[in-house]
Subunit: 392 residues, 2 copies
């Protein structure tokens, strides 16, 4: 298997952009990616593109979005394909781009994601996200996406003594991190009192437990590790990549206080990278709802199952803690442009591991290994990646 | 790069199945695939699944169709992902499944496709297929899918002297081939007079120039070539696989009497396999419209550009000809369940190269190499595969 490196990464600011379509968003992220490559790269050397998007069924472009976008940035003839696994579409795009490089088929491959959630917002947006669960057993029975995660939160509270304030601590932390991130949708701190008393959504969640509706795009450029230094003095190596699925409907699962897909994907990624959870210096995890970050701590091995809230109490996952989580602000505050989210995490880690986080207040120092974690729906799929800094 | 073999393949009959949903269709094809594996295979050994589908945005299951289907057949925890490139979704599923095996990540991977076109038929179906072109420049300008291919046919006629009867010869040939194929949607011969005088669709096309609206599913099982003989005495090797894109809107292309995506994909596949067009013994090509098969002859190197109709006149691509094309009946008569089509071609070739085509009248004899060719939309994407028989 060939080694895989990331040599460039770019993303739009995340937010609500009524005047930009998917082509504009994608091109903006793609051009920032090109500018991040240190040495001169001829874009015509790019051979393939894996692009994650969920909402491409909504009418703006149903079929073949990937070649449309690559044609728009001047690369009509690459091998371009759309990858879809709901909120993990970007993570699976990155995973399969990595497999393509690892196979030796290609040296230079784009992994990207784009979403225009504004165009599927309001009632249609809620309908859409609902169908990332099981349509027959969940959506048609009336459950919402927030409602399903709320069941997981309630069960975690019942089994492990998680309190309402622990959920809010995730929101407060991630909002705080987002303030210094110029790419984030919500760059404002919230207090624990605010986070505890938002408008109710689905018990025990209020609006501060939920990630927002977001437009955005993210693009990373993967390269065969052997030639990565031809293009940059600071490659970031993708040392491990894992992906897995689970039953979509949560009633089919053995437990709802863990995500089996995350655990299987993490085991694959850790094994390939040859490291364990204790080696990870910082992580971007999938906090579509506050409970999702708490589940991730256990599923990724950062703590034992049922002990995640103690990490929050001890400040371990704050930016200045021992294991910073979601330095970007996470889905909660950086935003959640569905198909782009998994690749956006890679952009954040690329910047951090190259000491290019810009705002000194948010630069994580002396990090060697990082992890990103992207979940589809309520855990129907998950992808996990291990990154290693390359300038050592 | 690891070698890739196909060790099992199964598909539903193609047709109009009002009482079967995507889960039933997929399970039917999956079970036939399992039954085709000679030696005992524990399905739990399957590690990943790449599933092509276009219409998964229509409501029956928007997000994460792939893990839903794999959960339905008892494999909820594999690495499952949906692949979408319109009518080439199945081909790109097969391509990326092959990359995953070639990378060494996996030994056993499902490549599949499924489509329930009945549920998006009538006006919605036409709308759907239209958006496989460029929404802004083609669909919103009023063009239909048939209309775009009709422009290509008219130009080919103008440049190369193709006659209306040459188009009909494709339809007559493929209908004749389908009669003996138990999986085909239309198992009836048509005369050249019928084919010349169908209900007009888009000049120069009549209804006999167009592939039908089809439900169906197809599943193939890929295996690392090193261990293929653990599971079967008759593996079929996937010696080459290529894929490429092009501008979606045909006005952006240099020529409309060739598909650049097919040519690039074919070059990649031939190079990897180490063979040329003259080595191919038979092929399944993408005849969504009759002109598409004619374009394919030139693009795949079976003849010089502009000479394709002479192959038809000489009967070269008939079942008993020197280079049989679409022994299955092709999209025209076997049917075209969009996301399944590319994998269905692999099923036909798997049967033929194992001498298991059943009906003696349709078994192609003494074949060593075969090719399949799957196109997205009007040539926005294409995937090409080279197969080699494995019992030599």
């Amino acid at each position: 298997m060939e080694g895989v490196a990331i040599i460039g990464a770019g993303q739009t600011r995340y937010g609500d952009f009524p005047n930009k379509g998917v082509k504009e968003l994608f091109a903006e992220a793609y051009l920032e990616m090109l500018q991040s490559v240190d040495q001169s790269l001829d874009p015509q050397m790019i051979q393939a593109a894996y692009i994650g998007c969920l909402s491409a069924g909504s009418g703006f472009q149903l079929g073949q979005l990937a070649p449309l976008l690559m044609g728009h940035v001047g690369l009509p003839n690459v091998n371009a394909v759309r990858i879809e696994n709901a909120c993990a579409s970007g993570g699976f795009a990155l995973y399969n781009a990595a497999c393509a490089v690892a196979s030796g088929k290609f040296d230079l491959v784009v992994a990207a994601g784009v979403e225009k959630m504004r165009d599927v917002s309001s009632s249609k947006g809620r309908y859409w996200l609902g169908v990332s669960g099981d349509t027959e057993y969940e959506r048609l029975a009336g459950s919402t996406f927030a409602g399903i995660y709320a069941l997981m939160a309630a069960r975690y509270m019942h089994e492990y003594g998680l309190k309402r304030e622990h959920l809010s601590m995730v929101a407060v932390k991630n909002h705080k991190h987002a303030v210094a991130n110029p790419k984030a949708q919500f760059r404002k701190e919230i207090t624990i009192e605010q986070a505890m008393n938002g408008v109710p959504v689905a018990h025990p969640f209020n609006v501060w437990d939920c990630s927002p509706t977001t437009d955005g795009a993210a693009v990373v450029l993967l390269c065969n590790a052997k030639i990565a230094r031809n293009f940059t003095s600071k490659p970031v190596y993708l040392k491990g990549f894992g992906a897995a699925s689970d039953y979509l409907a949560i009633h089919d699962r053995n437990s709802i206080t863990r995500l089996a897909a995350t655990r299987k994907a993490a085991a694959e990624a850790y094994k390939q990278a040859g490291i364990g959870p204790g080696d990870v210096n910082f992580a971007e995890v999938h906090d579509c709802f506050t409970i999702a970050e708490i589940l991730a701590y256990g599923d990724l091995g950062f703590c034992e199952e049922g002990r995640a809230h103690y990490l929050l109490e001890e400040g371990v996952t704050q930016l200045n803690g021992k294991l910073p989580v979601n330095s970007s602000g996470g889905l909660k505050a950086k935003g959640h442009p569905i198909g782009a989210t998994g690749c956006g995490m890679a952009c954040e880690i690329f910047k951090q591991l190259r000491d290019e986080a810009k705002e000194p207040s948010r630069q994580i120092k002396n990090a060697r290994f990082a992890l990103s974690h992207n979940v589809g729906g309520s855990g129907g799929t998950a992808a996990v990646f291990i990154y290693q800094r390359g300038d050592e």
